[in-house]
């Protein structure tokens, strides 16, 4: 532990589809997708938008590309500084 009184940063900044999003530490990527509205993570086979449903790694509806890794379950992925998130919706 450092003796410094400076508080650690309480927010992280990531990019969602190129847009800069700043969220509190501890936010998951799935939650960050909804920072400016209802979360949308992908399009279905018919091209309609879909968003997270279960929030706990079961439904796979929240999957997106995170730092180049495709099909990441964003509800299980914590936001990290400088993260790049790309949805297909």
């Amino acid at each position: 532990m450092s003796a410094s009184k400076s508080t650690p940063p309480e927010v992280v900044t990531l990019r969602v589809n190129g847009r800069v999003v700043t969220v509190p530490v501890g936010t998951t990527v799935a939650a960050a997708l909804g920072a400016e509205g209802v979360p949308v993570s992908r399009v279905d086979l018919g091209g309609r938008p879909r968003g997270p449903v279960c929030g706990m790694g079961v439904c796979f509806e929240c999957r997106a590309t995170v730092d180049g890794v495709p099909d990441v379950l964003t509800c299980l992925a914590p936001c990290r500084e400088g993260q790049e998130v790309v949805t297909d919706a």
């Binding site: 501890g26 936010t27 939650a31 209802v38 439904c59 796979f60 379950l73 299980l76």
Partner: protein
């Protein structure tokens, strides 16, 4: 990568944490795998960081001090032979050799399809609660919740605390069944207190029994919801809808390991050992019973694997929890109307976009898979499986590896280490 341990615990919720802590304190080498980035499971999600819940804090601290090793972000994808699990962790793969196993994989929500349930903004009741706990901003948002049982109240309380305007709570259970359940709670003082505390905070929220969602409507996202409320139809404009009906155990891993499953729960003996020697099951896998059951059974199995005597107090506590669980199961059982909400065009399988009409003529899950691709997508039937079980009575099939989408590299058997090579 390879790992070895005396005991592997899959799932770091209350049940897994209790079993792992007690076993590790007794000197066993214990490895705990969980899909999340921190221990706590769904019920204590985020508590490792927030530390607001006293019970969670106590167990998380005990676990941290116990000597058990925790592997976050770990998903078991296959079990090619007894005593071996193949695990994916982010972009790495791990082969885990174990002596005994404790399955603590918990439960998920039961989703039943209705028109519009695929619109963004429509989530499970707990799904919405979890996302809000994880940082989804809902201040000033209008939310409708439809479901059943105590989880409905818990989700409403969380949403209110985060500034959402909870417009309506729709409890599917008939009034008599619901209040009968509530009156039984005096036998379970802990539950009664929790329920009363929750209800006290929710006095301003309109609530109705005999109420459920008929349809969610909107263009690119949910804009309004049509409800059946005691026989009348009502429409509410909203930003979010949480709709799900109780919980079902996550049985995939138990089935993958060959454990016997009956009536939707893993079959165990009094030592919570499954029909597979050395493999135990705790918590929701024994039938939905909540955090109390998870802790009691986790402690019990912790003592068993550590070779310590099980106190009669623990055994009594478990019996009490089972009585509550049976009450809950009767209360939460989905009513018939919920089976008839989907129209021919309503998607049943969300991964493969399979509408109800595509299932016409199918007699079981196998035919639905073969002819309509139901359950063949990314979630492997985790969402539509419980739905078609409720809709058509199709029960789940055996689970085949990989039980989750996995990389080829994760399915490769590790080369045997020199001292185990056959002589």
């Amino acid at each position: 990568m390879r790992e070895a341990c005396d005991l592997v615990v899959i799932g770091a919720g209350p049940g897994g944490l209790a079993a792992a802590s007690i076993a590790a304190e007794a000197g066993l080498s214990v490895l705990v795998l969980d899909q999340q980035s921190q221990p706590g499971g769904q019920v204590w999600r985020g508590e490792a960081r927030k530390r607001e819940n006293r019970l969670a804090r106590r167990w998380l601290d005990r676990f941290a001090a116990s000597g058990a090793r925790f592997r976050p972000g770990a998903r078991v994808v296959a079990a090619p032979e007894p005593g071996l699990l193949l695990v994916e962790e982010g972009s790495a793969s791990v082969a885990v050799r174990y002596g005994r196993a404790v399955l603590a994989t918990g439960a998920r929500e039961r989703f039943l399809p209705f028109p519009g349930w695929t619109l963004p903004g429509v989530l499970g009741v707990s799904g919405l609660q979890v996302l809000v706990k994880d940082g989804l901003p809902v201040r000033g948002k209008r939310v409708v919740l439809a479901g059943t049982g105590p989880l409905l109240l818990a989700a409403a309380a969380t949403l209110q605390r985060h500034g959402a305007e909870v417009l309506f709570l729709a409890e599917q259970a008939p009034a008599a069944r619901h209040w009968g359940f509530a009156l039984q709670l005096w036998r379970h003082p802990g539950k009664l207190l929790q329920g009363a505390a929750l209800a006290a905070g929710l006095v301003s929220v309109p609530t109705s029994t005999d109420a459920w969602v008929l349809a969610a409507e909107g263009e690119a996202r949910v804009e309004r919801v049509r409800l059946s409320v005691r026989g009348h139809e009502e429409t509410l404009s909203c930003d979010y809808l949480g709709a799900s009906y109780g919980l079902v155990p996550n049985l995939e891993l138990a089935k993958l390991l060959g454990c016997e499953v009956a009536s939707g729960a893993v079959v165990v003996d009094e030592r919570l050992e499954t029909r597979v020697k050395g493999v135990h099951a705790v918590g929701e896998l024994l039938g939905i019973g909540g955090v109390d059951q998870a802790l009691v059974t986790g402690e019990l199995v912790g003592h068993v694997v550590a070779g310590k005597p099980v106190s009669s107090e623990l055994e009594r506590a478990w019996r009490a929890v089972r009585t509550f669980a049976e009450l809950l199961a009767r209360h939460d059982a989905p009513r018939d109307e919920l089976r008839r909400l989907a129209t021919p065009q309503t998607l049943v399988c969300r991964c493969e976009d399979v509408p109800l009409q595509a299932l016409e003529g199918c007699r079981d899950l196998r035919e639905a898979r073969l002819y309509a691709r139901l359950g063949m997508g990314a979630c492997q039937g985790r969402t539509c499986g419980a739905a078609v079980e409720t809709l058509f009575g199709w029960s789940g099939e055996d689970v085949r590896p990989p039980c989750l989408p996995a990389r080829i590299g994760s399915l490769r058997l590790p080369s045997p280490s020199p001292h185990t090579r056959a002589s």
